[in-house]
């Protein structure tokens, strides 16, 4: 089995969630798969501006999503914002690839919680049947949003930050890696898109931090 889609368990807000090195979170009790910041069409947007980025990024991102859907048999897929990167990325080729991918998973309910990039880029085409909402999606005890912020009576799972942390080791080793970051009220998922970068975050003592180390998810909580 592909280790990228072998879940690592984490107990958050009293529930057992599965974290994947493929950069997603799965809630088995409701068969909901959560993915943040895919930024589809980012490569196309760059190309439109005369910067060369190979097209294969979209296919690679979707391949990972395929593997996750298959491994989890998820019934619902929720995108935590920034589905499309920019208006310029609404390239016919990219949109067609996305539509075809959607057809392969027609049985899965798909929801997009809109993020800042979605506001400029626009919603995915209607034919893709992805329900787009602005506000958080509530699934007690969780609330799924794009930007991390506290919401009353819920534990928020969000994206937007593209979180990364720095680890130090013996012999002066140093690594900067993407991570899942779970605070006391809010958790942040790593960015899912193939062509996305990292921004450093600052976990507090007691926070849960799981880093993505190639094909493994490793608990490095302080």
């Amino acid at each position: 089995m592909n280790p990228m889609v072998e879940g690592t368990e984490a107990v958050i807000a009293g529930e057992t969630l599965e974290l994947f090195a493929a950069r997603a979170v799965f809630r088995r009790s409701t068969r909901t798969l959560l993915v943040a910041d895919p930024h589809f069409g980012k490569a196309a947007a760059f190309r439109a501006a005369g910067v060369f980025v190979p097209e294969a990024t979209t296919a690679a991102t979707l391949a990972r999503l395929d593997a996750l859907l298959e491994a989890t048999s998820a019934r619902r897929l929720i995108f935590l914002g920034d589905f499309l990167h920019a208006k310029e990325g609404r390239h016919p080729g990219t949109l067609q690839t996305l539509s075809q991918w959607r057809l392969r998973h027609s049985a899965v309910e798909m929801i997009l919680v809109r993020g800042n990039h979605d506001e400029c880029a626009g919603d995915p085409p209607e034919a893709m049947r992805i329900v787009c909402v602005d506000g958080p999606v509530l699934e007690p005890p969780f609330a799924y949003a794009h930007r991390p912020r506290e919401i009353r009576d819920a534990y928020v799972l969000a994206g937007h930050l593209h979180p990364g942390v720095v680890l130090l080791g013996a012999g002066r080793q140093r690594e900067r890696l993407a991570c899942f970051w779970f605070g006391s009220r809010v958790g942040v998922l790593p960015a899912f898109g193939e062509f996305t970068g990292l921004a450093d975050v600052a976990p507090a003592p007691g926070d849960g931090v799981w880093v993505v180390a190639d094909d493994q998810v490793v608990d490095v909580s302080g």
């Binding site: 005369g50 970068g197 450093d200 600052a202 931090v209």
Partner: protein
């Protein structure tokens, strides 16, 4: 005018200045007038400029008819006068009328730094004014106003002083053919500075373009004396059937050079490593006081700030007569210092290599070099700044900042006495620069593939360019990278009637804004809250500052207020106790030639021979080294093994310079890690390298298996480099030059931010999804060849494998080890999986919240 009367005028001009033309200058003039090209090499300030300038001037005068008798009289009178007549502002009307009457571009003068353009302009204007030439002579650099630039783009002045970037920008205009229609000469100044860099390649390509447009133009290069003059000439003049032969002309002989050093009273308290120490400050001040004027050269900008503050603190009475000069200072400040130096208005200037280049600085009384010069030629050049008359002695006083630098100083003197000059090797086939040039030429009138390929192959850099590489580059800038895919939305270059052109306006704008191959960290401009700009600093340093933090910059004690966009605001802080900014700029490595002399001195020390003051001062240190470990003798390689709380340290001391050591460190770590799962971090300096691991490394086993063996070098070195991040870091520069990463339009909005991506991200994406991408290949190749000096690596390894291994287990870090122990920047190599390493690592929690 007849040739005879023209040369008479020229000689009279020299006489009016109190000069007599040197033989080498006459040789250049005569060669130029016969249609030859060439390379002139000599130390700074020895008449190269006039050697290059007078050829075209004489040429023009010869082409004119006789001047009117009254005019001839007025010129002669001026030349006979005791002082040359300067053009006053009342002549500006005449100049304005003269502009359109001035001859079209005849001389193109390329200079590496815009700071030098003003100097050069002055030097060229002097004879032109005296002879009342109806020439317009102007500069065109990043500092030129847009109004002036627009005017120039329509009609260039008779002589134009410009930088490689501005020249490339000129070539993006589609009227290039008309602009260069009457060009007679291209002069490339400080060619030794450009060669060996990608800007040098940019110049090579621009010259090839100009030669194509105007084959009659001659090319002359002005250079310092380097070890590979023939190659420097070939790179300048190009190769292939149409390339001019070109002669090499040597300027005046260098003066006698004396190198001495300031020595610490006792070596005991003197640090073994590090470069910030100001222990010798009292002696430095005494040396400055010996004369009326001094330049104190340091190796980094941070060091200039530190030493400036230290000198000022010690001698507050010198405030106002000492100054600071480095590349991040505001241009006006730098110009002020340069002017003061010229008129002898400053007692002391603390400077970096920013003062190495220059047309005409009055010599100073004393030159000091803080820290090892790292190269023989550099020390020689700086020594040349001292002494008032030609033929006088040049003297430089070296100031070590740690004990071991004394060996380098002794070795540098040996090098000067032996006449060992470093070479500057031209860059071979950088595809990122080619990609940039393709867009430039497409903008500037367009091109046909076969024609441009032939033109590009005439340069030294690309004479070995393969058809596959050309095709790849062309595809990269037009339809996209991969052979089977076309990306229609990615339209940089399009083909019209068989010609490649640029049609999209924002592609053109973006390209023009981003032209240039110099790469540095994003520069933040630093200004006072209430007006007044101080200079620029690197983003990395500013990013770590918080409101209220104090630091020194531009010689001032400042308090950080805030940063917004690319500007940082500061106010004066009353009494400074603050941080000194650190700049990323390259740490100069020891040159191969100097390393050679260094090893020789060490060999002597190993045999108990300490020749000269510097080595004798070091005897106590060498005793310690001998007692705790050993001193490597000739034919020996020293390895030290040490265990501390941090882990297991292995020290190797090849004394080949930091770049070669980085390659050896990666190679040794790689070879060791093949024997068992283990992770290393490595650091290197000019003396040796350190491998650090959490568990004991299998050294004995590795030595038996051939750790130093040159066999399998071709496979192992690239493999070891793939294991480090070197290629990824080298890719930063490539991504910038090739136009992947863009510094940003001045008024960036959301759209611009959406197009920001780090070069590291591009590297990862290319590695994963476009492995055939030749820019990635180039990154690997550049690391191997330029960073690690691959041929030196092979030679060094051979020497190691022929050496006897001396393995010691010192009780604590030795003098030689110390510098490596404290080094911050570390590479890593590991044969363990990332996840198993990560499981043993700790999360940093105490970082300040954003």
């Amino acid at each position: 005018m007849t040739k005879r009367s023209v040369t008479a005028v020229r000689d009279r001009w020299f006489k009016s200045r109190g000069w007599k033309p040197f033989d080498f200058q006459r040789e250049v003039w005569s060669a130029y007038l016969s249609g030859e090209s060439g390379l002139i090499h000599a130390a700074t300030g020895t008449g190269k400029t006039l050697a290059a300038w007078w050829g075209p001037v004489v040429e023009w005068m010869t082409e004119q008819g006789s001047p009117s008798p009254s005019r001839a009289l007025s010129i002669a009178a001026k030349l006979g006068a005791s002082k040359p007549v300067t053009v006053t502002s009342s002549d500006s009307k005449r100049k304005a009328r003269g502009r359109s009457a001035a001859p079209p571009l005849r001389v193109l003068w390329i200079t590496p730094l815009r700071a030098l353009a003003a100097d050069t302009l002055e030097a060229l204007l002097a004879p032109a004014r005296d002879l009342e030439l109806p020439w317009t002579i102007e500069s065109r650099t990043g500092d030129t106003s847009s109004a002036a630039r627009a005017r120039q783009s329509r009609r260039l002045p008779t002589a134009l002083v410009t930088t490689p970037e501005s020249l490339s920008l000129l070539l993006t205009h589609d009227n290039a053919v008309e602009l260069f229609g009457d060009l007679r000469a291209v002069i490339v100044d400080e060619w030794h500075e450009l060669i060996g860099t990608k800007r040098g390649v940019q110049v090579e390509l621009a010259l090839a373009r100009i030669r194509k447009l105007r084959p009659e133009a001659r090319t002359w290069g002005l250079s310092a004396t380097i070890g590979n003059l023939g190659q420097a000439r070939d790179a300048l003049l190009g190769c292939g059937a149409g390339a001019p032969m070109g002669r090499i002309v040597r300027g005046v002989e260098p003066k006698t050079v004396v190198v001495d050093a300031l020595l610490p009273e006792t070596i005991d308290r003197f640090p073994w490593a590090g470069h910030l120490g100001t222990q010798l400050l009292p002696k430095v001040i005494a040396a400055i006081e010996e004369g009326q004027s001094a330049i104190v050269f340091t190796n980094t900008r941070s060091q200039t700030e530190i030493w400036y503050q230290a000198i000022l603190a010690e001698r507050p009475d010198w405030a106002g007569s000492i100054a600071l000069h480095h590349g991040s200072l505001e241009r006006k400040k730098r110009e002020w210092v340069e002017d003061q130096l010229r008129i002898g208005g400053l007692r002391c200037v603390v400077a970096t290599s920013s003062l190495d280049l220059g047309v005409d600085f009055a010599p100073v009384d004393r030159v000091l070099q803080v820290g090892s010069p790292k190269a023989i030629a550099r020390l020689l050049q700086r020594a040349g700044r001292s002494g008032h008359r030609p033929g006088a002695i040049s003297r430089v006083t070296c100031v070590p900042t740690n004990a071991l630098e004394l060996v380098e100083i002794a070795a540098a003197r040996d090098g000067i006495n032996a006449g060992a000059m470093e070479s500057r090797f031209p860059v071979e086939r950088p595809l990122d620069v080619l990609a940039q040039h393709l867009v430039t030429v497409a903008l500037g009138g367009g091109f046909e593939s076969a024609d441009l390929l032939a033109e590009v192959r005439c340069t030294h850099a690309y004479h070995g360019l393969t058809d596959a590489e050309w095709d790849w580059a062309l595809r990269f800038v037009s339809s996209g990278g991969e052979a089977l895919r076309a990306y229609p939305e990615y339209a940089r270059l399009v083909v019209e009637d068989g010609r490649y052109v640029v049609r999209a306006r924002d592609v053109a704008r973006r390209h023009r804004l981003a032209i240039g191959t110099i790469v540095s960290d994003a520069q933040i401009s630093v200004s006072y809250l209430h007006g007044g700009s101080l200079g620029t600093m690197e983003e990395g340093f500013i990013a770590r500052l918080r409101a209220g933090d104090r630091f020194f910059f531009a010689g001032k004690s400042l308090e950080f207020v805030r940063v917004r966009d690319m500007k940082a605001w500061v106010r004066r802080a009353p009494n400074g106790r603050g941080a000194i900014p650190r700049w990323m700029g390259s740490r100069l490595p020891l040159s191969g030639e100097l390393a050679d002399k260094l090893r020789h001195r060490l060999g002597e020390a190993a045999n108990g021979v300490f020749g000269g003051e510097e080595m004798r001062a070091l005897e106590p240190i060498f005793e310690v080294q001998q007692e705790w470990s050993a001193i490597p003798g000739p034919g020996e390689i020293l390895i030290e093994r040490l265990k501390t709380r941090e882990g297991w340290h292995l020290y190797f001391y090849p004394f080949e310079g930091r770049l070669v050591h980085e390659g050896l460190a990666a190679l040794f770590a790689y070879r060791l890690s093949r024997l068992r799962p283990i992770s290393f971090t490595m650091s290197s300096n000019d003396y040796g390298l350190e491998l650090l691991s959490a568990v004991e490394p299998p050294l004995d086993e590795a030595l038996r298996a051939g750790l130093f063996s040159p066999e399998r070098l071709l496979e192992d070195v690239p493999a070891s480099l793939n294991a480090t991040e070197m290629a990824r870091r080298q890719f930063r520069e490539i991504a910038r030059v090739a136009g992947l990463v863009f510094p940003g339009f001045p008024r960036s909005g959301k759209t611009a931010r959406q197009l920001q991506a780090s070069s590291g991200l591009f590297f990862d994406v290319f590695q994963r999804h476009d492995p055939g991408n030749l820019l990635i290949t180039q990154a690997h190749r550049e690391v191997l060849e330029r960073q690690l000096e691959r041929s030196r690596l092979g030679v060094a390894l051979q020497r190691l494998s022929d050496s006897r291994v001396v393995l010691t287990n010192p009780p604590r870090p030795t003098p030689l080890a110390f510098g490596l122990l404290v080094d911050r920047t570390r590479e890593k190599v590991s044969s363990e999986t990332l996840s198993s390493r990560v499981r043993r690592m700790q999360l940093i929690l105490e970082r300040a919240a954003g």
